[in-house]
């Protein structure tokens, strides 16, 4: 199965670059990228004679991604099948080694979607053990804290919600899905979208294994497998790599704004029991970010037997200063007296990071196309001021299932294309509470783009959301692509971050160790560069290499060349925690994150 036309021209350019680049650059720059998505194997002499045939299997529905959206869709499909006594084969592939291992979120779960999916979730043992009892909001200055009352009706109010460890919740959803008969395959990543002759989506192919770091086949090379389906659901989470391809393929973003994102970093701490307040939710804005950089913190006290707190920091990726390091902002925030007093004497036991959507209503693409649909954080249903996206992701999965079910079980689907096109899903979304919710809060995030930054945004929220409930007739725009927001380094001031003290704040590498991340070492780096020369020529020269600072895992390093003067980019692909920030924020948009061999990546336990 071929990946379609855009790659043909791309392939020719790439092949030319491959031969030219090899001759030209071997004297100066060692080659970085060796992945077959940049250097196709059919033109590569090392792959001559290698068996590239793939085993194929058929299912009714294939779901990419075992997160809240994918699992809710799978569960809903099987629930409908049981109700109506119909047979349905649902297969779900997930790149993590087990369901929940790549899941990271605050999280305060609003149980609305869960109540619809499993009204008896409590009897089934869903791990919602911590109802929210206290809700605090602060504006921080360097030394002080200004409390902001959490009035009912404000989007951040958490009454009725639960603090959860989303990884554990997702793991529980996975167990429910398996009980209902969903075939779940963790450890297998969807690497390629497959197309019918008529251009509709046919399914996906899982990743190949056994390719060496330089791109050549190893003895243990095995081709991935093809999973064909009547309709394929893509639930890859924020900024999925297959979704990126689908947007281009089917022009799904022609009527919406480009998505805007934030990066969220999180840690789990076991604290001193005397400081533990189970059920308490704390949020802050302000210090250490300046008023023009969107972001803030969360600190949730869990109630699961031991004094555990989940805390973290979010920075909007539309920041302009290339010297900003979201990781180091997070670490220095912990030294604020109000935060430090909770953490003092405690132990950090986990760390992780993930990009999240901030675009909301204005950035929703078309979500259906022939043969497939997008669900969850991939198109992006997060309610930004509430900082919740799990309930809407689950609901989107359920709505997708409800739209699909009659079509895939029908005797004659009456479809124009081989892969089913089911626009009813989009109609269902527009009639649902997801749409109403996202519409009501649509202007809050863009309202931060004003001279007063954070304070302007808060005033806007107070007036238009709290009083008018988002009924104002206008819709504000976002600032544009996050990657285009960076100012050149010479126009900005470097930020002096304090050194980590090893008790409250820590260095990057010991943090990455706590994410449990690892990858098979001998494989092509999955952070692929369209052009190996651009990092030094553009990112380093103009922006002082911002990827060294925005990557929360230390993947990107500019190191001196072994021979003579100059720097080169070193990619430590094994550290990657699959957050997708680099693909989003790279000012040259030269980095293309693709999926590594399945099972690689972080090993989050209830994050």
């Amino acid at each position: 199965c071929l990946s379609l036309s855009e790659s043909t021209t791309h392939r020719i350019i790439c092949t030319a670059h491959y031969t030219w680049g090899r001759n030209c650059s071997s004297a100066v720059m060692p080659r970085i990228t060796s992945h077959y998505t940049i250097f196709p194997r059919d033109k590569d002499p090392r792959w001559e004679g290698v068996e590239m045939e793939r085993f194929a299997d058929e299912a009714d529905v294939v779901i990419v991604g075992g997160g809240p959206a994918g699992l809710s869709a799978a569960i809903r499909l099987k629930q409908l099948a049981k109700e109506q006594e119909k047979e349905l084969r649902v297969c779900l592939v997930e790149k993590a080694s087990q369901i929940g291992a790549h899941t990271l979120s605050g999280a305060c779960l609003e149980p609305s979607a869960l109540n619809e999916l499993f009204p008896d979730w409590k009897e089934r043992g869903a791990p919602l053990n911590t109802p929210v009892t206290e809700d605090l909001f602060s504006i921080l200055t360097e030394k002080y804290r200004i409390p902001v009352p959490m009035l009912p009706g404000l989007p951040m109010n958490n009454h009725g919600n639960y603090i959860v460890r989303l990884g554990h919740f997702v793991h529980w959803l996975g167990e429910q899905a398996e009980e209902l008969g969903v075939e779940i395959y963790p450890g297998y990543a969807a690497a390629e979208v497959l197309f019918h002759e008529d251009g509709s989506v046919k399914g996906i192919a899982t990743n190949d294994v056994g390719i060496a770091k330089d791109g050549s086949p190893k003895d243990v090379f095995e081709r991935g497998m093809e999973l064909h389906a009547k309709v394929t659901l893509f639930g890859e989470g924020c900024h999925g790599h297959l979704a990126k391809q689908l947007y281009r393929q089917f022009n799904l973003r022609e009527n919406c704004e480009p998505q805007t994102y934030a990066i969220g970093l999180k840690e789990l701490w076991v604290i001193d029991e005397k400081k533990w307040r189970p059920g308490r939710v704390e949020h802050s804005v302000g210090w250490p970010l300046n008023r023009n950089t969107y972001g803030g913190s969360f600190l949730y006290h869990l109630n699961e037997g031991e004094p555990l707190v989940a805390l973290g920091f979010v920075v909007g990726l539309d920041y302009t200063n290339p010297y900003l390091s979201p990781f180091r902002e997070f670490q220095r925030w912990k030294h604020h007296p109000f935060v430090a007093k909770t953490l003092e004497g405690g132990d950090r036991i986990a760390y992780g990071a993930r990009a999240l959507n901030e675009g909301g209503y204005q950035c929703l693409p078309k979500v259906t196309f022939p043969g497939g649909m997008l669900i969850g954080c991939s198109p992006g249903f997060m309610n930004v001021p509430k900082i919740k996206g799990t309930h809407t992701a689950m609901k989107s999965g359920m709505l997708a299932a409800e739209a699909i079910f009659p079509k895939v079980t029908a005797e004659d689907p009456a479809s124009e294309t081989a892969g089913l096109h089911i626009p009813e899903y989009e109609d269902n979304l527009k009639k649902s509470w997801i749409w109403k919710e996202l519409y009501a809060v649509r202007n809050i995030r863009p309202s931060f783009h004003n001279y007063f930054g954070l304070y302007g945004g808060m005033i806007y929220t107070g007036v238009f959301y709290w009083i008018l409930r988002g009924k104002e007739p206008w819709t504000l725009k976002h600032a544009g692509l996050d990657s285009a927001q960076l100012k050149p380094a010479k126009e900005c001031t470097p930020i002096e971050y304090p050194k980590p003290d090893g008790k409250l704040s820590f260095d990057l590498l010991s943090s990455v160790a706590l994410s449990g991340t690892n990858h098979e070492g001998d494989q092509p780096p999955h952070l692929t560069l369209k052009d190996d020369s651009i990092p030094v020529a553009n990112n380093l020269a103009i922006y002082d290499g911002p990827e060294q600072r925005f990557c929360p895992a230390g993947v990107y390093e500019y190191v001196p060349l072994e021979t003579g003067e100059g720097m080169r980019l070193q990619i430590n692909a094994q550290n990657c925690v699959h957050c997708k920030t680099c693909d989003i924020k790279d000012p040259s948009q030269n980095i293309n994150w693709v999926v590594p061999e399945g099972s690689g990546g972080p090993a989050y336990n209830g994050l």
């Binding site: 087990q98 991935g224 036991i349 449990g516 336990n605």
Partner: protein, 256 residues
């Protein structure tokens, strides 16, 4: 006469060196809830060797065996996906599982090997969570069979097995008669990937269930874990300027 069946004995361990392990608050062990468990890497090598021997037609059937709770069936399925013919799951859970050590496992494997009339029992040399390196040797002793441990090369020669062993001084080659017990070391082979189509096919292969009592094995442990602690944090080093300084410091802290 070619050997009939080979047993591969598997171990379910905490995922190799990179997950975050912490000690339980009551110091009775490490936290295992929610931590990814998978097949012990040395057992993967053992499975690969057994499957290779079958492919070379030295043996007829490979049986994958493991002891533990229900999670262990996933590990057996991976072995089946790599090419084993059938599996046996010996159910041990709860307190028995926490107390289970190499001796109990060896007794189970020995009883099974006798019952199924195996010709070869292949294990990984040690589990990476407890690093005991005892099960293979104990199994051989209980069966009174010869053992070829730390194997980095295995060749079947009629009724005998030639094993090249990795030892401290280098490599030792021995020839032992079958039935025998072998334990796999790192360089024996590179295990194949369990591909998704094989995982799907493995769902149709049989896994038999049994309990230690069915084999007449008592699971009572003769080892009691008193306490588990984290290793002490490494102290910073001290730099000295001259040799005299070094000698003075070593004298001062009683080393010399």
């Amino acid at each position: 006469m070619s050997p009939a069946s080979v047993f591969v004995c598997l171990s379910l361990t905490l995922l190799s060196d990179y997950p975050v392990i912490r000690v339980k608050p009551d110091h009775s062990g490490v936290v295992t809830d929610g931590v990814k468990h998978s097949m012990n890497p040395f057992c993967e090598i053992a499975v690969e060797e057994a499957v290779k021997l079958k492919e070379k037609k030295f043996i007829k059937e490979v049986v994958a065996v493991s002891c533990g709770p229900t999670q262990v069936t996933e590990t057996i399925r991976t072995a089946l996906a790599m090419g084993c013919d059938r599996g046996i799951h010996v159910e041990v859970s709860g307190k028995d599982y926490e107390a289970m050590g190499p001796l109990q496992i060896a007794k189970i494997f020995a009883a099974l090997a006798k019952k199924e009339e195996a010709s070869l029992v292949i294990l990984g040399k040690q589990a990476i969570d407890d690093d005991c390196n005892q099960t293979g040797q104990m199994t051989a002793a209980l069966l009174d069979w010869p053992q070829g441990t730390f194997a980095s090369e295995v060749t079947i020669d009629g009724e005998k097995v030639k094993v090249v062993r990795e030892i401290d001084g280098g490599l030792e080659t021995i020839k032992i008669s079958m039935p025998a017990v072998l334990t796999a070391d790192l360089r024996l082979n590179t295990p194949r990937y369990a591909t998704l189509p094989n995982i799907m096919k493995a769902k149709k292969k049989k896994i038999a269930n049994m309990k230690p009592a069915d084999l007449g094995v008592d699971m009572v442990s003769r080892v009691e874990v008193l306490r588990v602690d984290e290793p002490p944090t490494r102290l910073a080093g001290v730099k000295v300027e001259t040799v005299d300084d070094l000698v003075a410091k070593l004298k001062a802290n009683g080393t010399i």
